[in-house]
Subunit: 344 residues, 4 copies
Amino acid sequence: MLFFRNDYGQGCVEEILNILRDINDESISGYGIDPISEQAIAMIKTKMPDVNVDVHFIVGGTLTNQTIIKHVLRPYEAVIACDSGHVAGHETGAIEATGHKVITVKNINGKLDASCIRPVFEEHMLTYEHLVYPKLVYISNATEFGTVYTREELQAIRRECDRLGLYLMMDGARLGSALMSGVDYDLNDLAKWCDVFYIGGTKNGALMGEAVVITNDALKPFFRFNLKQNGAMMAKGWLLGVQFLGLFKNDAFYQCAKHANNLAGRLQDVLVELKYPMYMLSDTNQIFPVVNKAQFEYLQQNVSFETWEVRQEDEIVIRFVTSWHTTEAEVDELIEILKEAIKL
Amino acid sequence: MLFFRNDYGQGCVEEILNILRDINDESISGYGIDPISEQAIAMIKTKMPDVNVDVHFIVGGTLTNQTIIKHVLRPYEAVIACDSGHVAGHETGAIEATGHKVITVKNINGKLDASCIRPVFEEHMLTYEHLVYPKLVYISNATEFGTVYTREELQAIRRECDRLGLYLMMDGARLGSALMSGVDYDLNDLAKWCDVFYIGGTKNGALMGEAVVITNDALKPFFRFNLKQNGAMMAKGWLLGVQFLGLFKNDAFYQCAKHANNLAGRLQDVLVELKYPMYMLSDTNQIFPVVNKAQFEYLQQNVSFETWEVRQEDEIVIRFVTSWHTTEAEVDELIEILKEAIKL
Amino acid sequence: MLFFRNDYGQGCVEEILNILRDINDESISGYGIDPISEQAIAMIKTKMPDVNVDVHFIVGGTLTNQTIIKHVLRPYEAVIACDSGHVAGHETGAIEATGHKVITVKNINGKLDASCIRPVFEEHMLTYEHLVYPKLVYISNATEFGTVYTREELQAIRRECDRLGLYLMMDGARLGSALMSGVDYDLNDLAKWCDVFYIGGTKNGALMGEAVVITNDALKPFFRFNLKQNGAMMAKGWLLGVQFLGLFKNDAFYQCAKHANNLAGRLQDVLVELKYPMYMLSDTNQIFPVVNKAQFEYLQQNVSFETWEVRQEDEIVIRFVTSWHTTEAEVDELIEILKEAIKL
Amino acid sequence: MLFFRNDYGQGCVEEILNILRDINDESISGYGIDPISEQAIAMIKTKMPDVNVDVHFIVGGTLTNQTIIKHVLRPYEAVIACDSGHVAGHETGAIEATGHKVITVKNINGKLDASCIRPVFEEHMLTYEHLVYPKLVYISNATEFGTVYTREELQAIRRECDRLGLYLMMDGARLGSALMSGVDYDLNDLAKWCDVFYIGGTKNGALMGEAVVITNDALKPFFRFNLKQNGAMMAKGWLLGVQFLGLFKNDAFYQCAKHANNLAGRLQDVLVELKYPMYMLSDTNQIFPVVNKAQFEYLQQNVSFETWEVRQEDEIVIRFVTSWHTTEAEVDELIEILKEAIKL
């Protein structure tokens, strides 16, 4: 069956498998302090020449969000996120489990708009200590809906954070897709705008792993204590170094994302052309057509995909995701199926 | 200056002061296990003859909400509350600090409507372990807007909880006001409908104290461990027993609430008659007129009250609260001031 | 029955009862920001003229320890306490419930010796992020065994904290007893030596309440957010102000403690004279004789006291406590009983 | 340089690398619910035919301990562990971070003796809700010192847990070594004795991963919610399935452990023969000789190992660890070095 369910459905790019095999018999020190991790970190740092950053690797996204937020906030401080943000819902209360409230604002095409920050902040200042103190703005880029922040949007958010004394954190589980979507900014810019962000490996060609980049000097010390306490320090920490070495030494990170975006773009164009209603127009590798029940059932017999939202019995939002692993041929095949389905 | 700011602005009813003085030299054992607390508990139990309940006293509302919720829920379980619920905002993240998410639904006149529960539950079941498990429905009665649940509304919520296997918790910080607002139910009914609720003393004539009533047998064991761990077990625990002894031995609890409701009712009638727009029509001792800027300033010079919401520069929701301590004369005086203000 | 069970077995000193009655009908603003609390705070500050301090009131000891420690420490930081310290055991894991480990060292006569701090610190630095970071030294004064730190001991602890960059916190649940035990230091000195400490009211003549004194500027901001989040902000916060106003306006705080110490001293002298073995020689109002089984049973019929430790069937450590409320006559009576018991 | 530092210093057994490569292009569903994980779980279950168990995979040991303990205990419940237990120290307060106290008893050769459980339990029952409720006994097998529990020791602990109503949890980070040390019990027995335990992959030939086995029916429901909330659910969860498929399909799990134990046994014999004092006689793959300063420095130039404890300047406990990856030749070489060192 065709697989368009997600971007973490297959193993990893060849480079990573090869390094794994090549170093399998080397003796390497543990807990993420080793030559491989250092090499990977050095490569990542070259992408952000203007900022002095700390880089740490964590195995997955929820653990990363949890560890960063626990590290950054004091007990009474809270996160501002949009309602579609991953931390707002899809992590089984992982952030609340660290003691912090997530204050949500309505998303606009999956994004948090800079204009939403000040009202939340000011409302919370009104009765001061009777409410949490909103202190960290969390955004995902690309968003959970596949959209991407523009340079202007990010700068506006940064300015608002500066004015109000807030931290800006970017969840980059799909950062590769965002950077390869045609935007006019890069990792170096993000390092200037965010206090902390991460570069997602899991959804962009690695077996696992997110690279946390801390740019704010005040947030750097003692991060490894929180890593360890949160169960996020791997014994064979170099495994995560391998992932990012594989992604960055020949720029597989960028190529994978570009590849996935291109295929998704083609798919979205065809969907629009075929007159499928679209839930949202995506900039990256996640595509959200709306189908009727007959179409849904037909597609289910031929393609693996996710149901996003059942709006009405006959109006179902579904999600197709392309990845580093998707082929042109698979997209061709999906298009043929969609051409059949639209007739139903 | 006239005081209509809140219902916890003065000391306590005479009965409580008298008991305090009478027993000041008695030697009493600590931590809430003492003859006075036992007597108070016994009196409270007589109000719920049909249900076998456990009763515990806690000094204040936030500590009570926190202790109950931490006791009842497992780590991944969450609270459903309406967005105006006290736990949803005005406790500085006290619930999240215990690790639990508060899922909010839109309030209807300050109330959580039974019909809102199932959609939240079902939405969370869709992706199951990727979201928190909504397990406890939290309602306040009277609500934060002074409205009161009807018998039918409470029964509908209870039915929904039964169907979905949820606990029902009632925050009764202003339960006296609710019970004295003309409803056709009493403490005995509440004990049948709620798994746990509390009877507020602080806002109804006591110096402090909430009486937690646990009706669900499964939730009774080990509550005192959570009390102690949460810092909610007082050395001189009998102080809280004194409050409820004072409130219940001559039914001051009911009289105070009725008195406050009556005065508020009269005040609300006058406000309507004077054609002040009302934010919401209250059933109890909190009244929410909307005033313009000139009125606001005039009132501020003469009365102590709370600003509820600044909707526009010239549309300010304010709150007047009556209490066990408010006098007819004070209401008369306030009415005269309001008659002046309406001209502005 | 004679009561020597604890120092929180009766109500409060006359001053407090009187103020309560005097202001019962005043309208006072809530949450601890009111003229009474301010007056009490001002009085306390006059005792520490050399240090600029913040003062906050909390209803009881466990809640106070929990709120302070949660406020002061970052998630991976830990407390160093001696094994007899209140936070180490008798708070049902209240400190761990805030996420922090309590590292214990062996007590010496109930005290933490300065020489114990460095080894703990250095041991934890060895593997660094694999262990918690010990950051706060917790001591009780008077200790849980009634002993009192000398000026030299406190200064030695302070020096060690300075060298290692640690905070010093003093649990002063029985601080009155310590200060009235003949030591050559006072509140002003403590304000110089501690980063944060508290002055206990509950066990020294108040109905309830501990006065937290924060001396370290870095620890002052946002304390009220943690107060509120931790359920430690009372609606009628002025009740706690009343306690400390009563204790400090005529120095009842010192007189109560001195009175209790004097009676206990006399009792301890008699016990030694009667040749009761002593578990520990106390400097304050808690006395720990060791009795055999027959003595234990005889005493139990006549006096209310606490069993401290059953070392062997015939070697039982018991605790007598005197308080602001104990009379000379009660001590006389207890002495007569002890004279009988020693014959058994 | 010779590597005897730990048992997680190299990649993984050939089987695992091969499966990784073989399935790299397969499309597999996420979050640990996939055919590979199911196959691995089925294999593990065949080792415990007499007990109906649930199996879950988690990436590392600290995260596993944290997730299990958070799942099993209610807020006021605590862990009993020996002072050398991994959760007692070397996890940066990970257990306390979930809100639970770890009560320690003195280890005997790295083990918790059954006779230590009851005194701890009874001491905590004395003042009941003023202390935590000890509810889970945590043991490591093999222990942190390489020793192994006998059948009789485990049964004695189990009996004590049954009598007192406690859970028994076994940290099996090095369970392979324990099972291959010549004991007369197997996984099937452990499944009968423990309420929950885990089978360590990380230190026995896998890239990563611990297999949690829940045997107590009451502890099975909702474990995946805690997995997710704790950041312990991997997107590509099948990666963990691969590890255990590789370890169990040809019993590499047992062979690796046996191999490591044999080499360590030989090494220990030689050390004893050479008259090195031994810190403790190990049953498994961790060996603890005591060396003087000159020996220490000589060894450091030739071998990578861990310093366990500096008892005195001239008495240093060091640790050699063998693994699935260690060769006979490496042990020969180490022995030659040790023969030289003993002369110093």
